[in-house]
């Protein structure tokens, strides 16, 4: 083994540390996010349901985490009959 190989072997712990930090930051985000999304989903649904009848399965809520900003995407399918009510 070359001297460089020996040095690489020496430094495996810092690599482990860095990989873990990145991975866990992501996994904790997902964990927190699922709770936040569940809450948002319920509250948004409650507000819409006050005015328009909707199918719970036809609501998609997604959050994308970016470096600078995150986006919250809410996609609600409203039945046509309800749509008529909206335009009325």
């Amino acid at each position: 083994m070359s001297i460089f190989g020996w040095f690489r072997r020496r430094s495996s712990a810092p690599v482990a540390r860095e990989r873990l930090q990145i991975l866990l930051a992501h996994e904790r985000g997902v964990r927190g996010q699922s709770d936040l999304l569940a809450i948002l989903r319920e509250e948004i649904l409650a507000v819409i349901e006050k005015h328009v009848p909707i199918e719970r399965d036809n609501v998609q809520i997604k959050m994308d985490r970016g470096d600078a900003v995150s986006t919250l995407e809410i996609d609600v399918e409203v039945p046509n009959s309800a749509g008529l009510l909206l335009s009325a």
Binding site: S11, A13, R17, L20, L23, L24, E27
Partner: protein, 271 residues
């Protein structure tokens, strides 16, 4: 006031059962009354590590289902009067545990003992979630290795959300117990250091158990390591950890198992 402690890790093979036996025995050696409860239904091993495998008649499932009384299932340790074992069933599976049944057994144990130490199975399934469900405090057993640290992080998340205490909005007391630690390898940068693990998990440290042949010897003999060789490095580390669990202020030392030249050059002792 009884304290319910869960010994957990997520990952298997990191030393939950060894640590349950050693911490349980160490607390009992200091005069506390202790019961160690095996939640690994179907794959019990705490009985074997405690050297009580031939004395199991009834088990946790029998008590949970009301087939046996708690007093019939509890096994008293032959070496320490105040140490007891509640074994798991070897023939049933984890679905035989019910939350109500476990709640009732834990309540009964709280009335009888100072410490109720629940040895969690690996994984995050029913046995593991029920082992932590009614805990006041948790010992998260972690090896200085990436997969173990990741699983510990997951368990910390579950402890903070799925335990009865967490659901009531109370804080569950959490401690990291680092096992299989090799100070020389950590000093050479081959193993995550204590600081790395604690910083990543941001949870306080209960103790550092060195990698040692004494641990295997103890399980071969069916004796908690604090009893089989109380002067050995892992036993001293477990005894100190048990004192910290009781709230004593014991200075943390980084155990140094071997005495090679490299250890002398690179090994450290913390204040």
């Amino acid at each position: 006031m009884a304290k319910v402690l869960v010994v957990t890790s997520g990952k298997g093979g990191v030393g939950k059962t060894t640590s349950t036996a050693a911490l349980g025995a160490a607390l009992a050696q200091s005069g506390q009354s202790v019961v160690v409860v095996d939640f690994d239904v179907g794959l019990r091993n705490l009985d074997l590590v405690m050297g009580a495998e031939r004395r199991v008649v009834f088990d946790l499932i029998n008590v949970v289902q009301g087939i046996a009384k708690l007093s019939q299932a509890l096994i008293r340790d032959k070496r320490i009067e105040t140490l007891w074992l509640l074994p798991a069933s070897q023939t049933r599976d984890k679905d035989a545990l019910t939350e109500e049944g476990v709640a009732r057994v834990i309540k009964e144990l709280r009335a009888k003992f100072d410490w109720v130490i629940c040895d969690s199975p690996a994984g995050i399934e029913r046995g593991a979630t029920l082992a932590m469900r009614f805990a006041d405090a948790a010992v998260i057993v972690t090896n200085p290795e990436v997969s173990s640290v990741r699983d510990s992080d997951r368990m910390i998340g579950l402890l903070d959300s799925k335990t009865e205490k967490a659901e009531k909005g109370q804080r569950i007391e959490k401690h990291i117990l680092i096992t299989r630690y090799d100070a020389a390898r950590a000093a050479r940068g081959e193993m995550l250091s204590i600081e790395d693990v604690l910083e990543i998990l941001s949870t306080p440290l209960l103790g550092i158990i060195p990698e040692s042949e004494e641990v295997l010897r103890a399980s071969n003999l069916g004796s908690p390591v604090t009893l089989s060789n109380a002067a050995s490095a892992p036993a001293r580390a477990y005894l100190a950890a048990a004192r910290r669990l009781k709230g004593e202020d014991v200075p943390m030392t980084i155990p140094n198992g071997k005495k090679g030249l490299l250890d002398k050059l690179f090994g450290r002792r913390a204040a």
